[in-house]
């Protein structure tokens, strides 16, 4: 489990949005997918961290990448739009650090879904890159 504060921040921000909780309730899962979870759900995981330290050893600007899946039995275009808008506005102070920007893009067509059981009628995956100052 990562010590980064960003997974908690992502889940917290998503759960503050009515348009999102109306559809998924509290089913915003990080890394683990509870067996009892039902559709629709949001599942995400951290896929990478990239930073180059400064000469003196200080942590450099850090890019943290996440993969986020929305899985459902019905069309969730509205939920998707809310998730994208919420995450694109993720910036500012988080813990002791500062998030400079968040980029949200679609995953490529050959992306392998991890949080669906193969029967879902609607699946959408996002690639999220959060750029911060490395202090959180």
């Amino acid at each position: 489990m990562t010590t980064s504060l960003l997974p908690i921040e992502i889940a917290t921000r998503l759960k503050l949005v009515t348009a999102i909780t109306d559809r998924v309730g509290s089913r915003v899962h990080y890394q683990e997918l509870p067996q009892s979870s039902t559709y629709p759900h949001i599942w995400f995981t951290r896929t990478g961290v990239d930073n180059e330290p400064f000469l003196g050893g200080e942590t450099g600007i850090t890019d943290e990448s996440f993969s986020l899946e929305i899985v459902s039995d019905t069309d969730e275009s509205t939920l998707l739009d809310s998730v994208i808008e919420t995450l694109e506005n993720l910036d500012g102070n988080v813990g002791d650090g500062v998030v400079f920007m968040t980029q949200v893009e679609d995953q490529s067509d050959d992306y392998f879904f991890e949080s669906d059981d193969g029967d879902a009628d609607y699946r959408h995956a996002l690639r999220i890159t959060i750029t911060h100052d490395g202090e959180m």
Binding site: P53, F54, L55, G56, G57
Partner: protein, 149 residues
């Protein structure tokens, strides 16, 4: 025999005795001497002699730059001072010399300090781009041999 394998990691930089954080790179100087050709009729090859004194070249520091940072402002104020006597600058480079301590404790670093004196010749701020760190390059022409301590 002294160990020769060193990384730049944990090198510290001071400008006018004030530590500069978030340095990306430190370009060190090249020492050169002018060559004068002294080939004569009895030479079997072109001959040159190197002259005195040597030119100690220039150094440059590339570091993160924040327009509101007091340290960055201090360097600007220093460089833009109208009084020529107030603009002789000192830049110190502290290179890790040795490390002591045993894991899991973090190591303690002792440094060799190289002190450069000269004239700052330029402050160049980086192009502003969405995903790039704001940086500044400070260049200094050396007026004396660097001192090691």
């Amino acid at each position: 025999m002294a160990k020769k394998k060193k990384l730049g990691h944990q090198t510290k930089v001071l400008v006018n005795a004030t530590a500069v954080g978030f340095v990306l790179e430190f370009e060190r100087n090249e020492v050169t001497r002018e060559l004068t050709e002294v080939t004569d009729l009895e030479s079997v090859a072109v001959e040159n002699l190197d002259s005195d004194p040597p030119d100690y070249g220039s150094i440059s520091i590339t570091c993160a730059h924040d327009p509101e940072d007091t340290g960055d402002i201090a360097i600007e104020t220093f460089y833009l001072n109208d009084d020529i006597d107030e603009r002789e600058a000192t830049i110190a480079l502290k290179v890790p010399a040795s490390r002591s301590g045993t894991a899991p404790s973090a190591s303690t670093v002792t440094y060799t300090t190289i002190t450069y004196t000269g004239r700052i010749t330029s402050l160049k701020d980086s192009t502003v781009k969405s995903r790039d760190l704001l940086t500044r390059v400070i260049k200094m022409k050396l007026n004396a041999k660097p001192v090691k301590s």
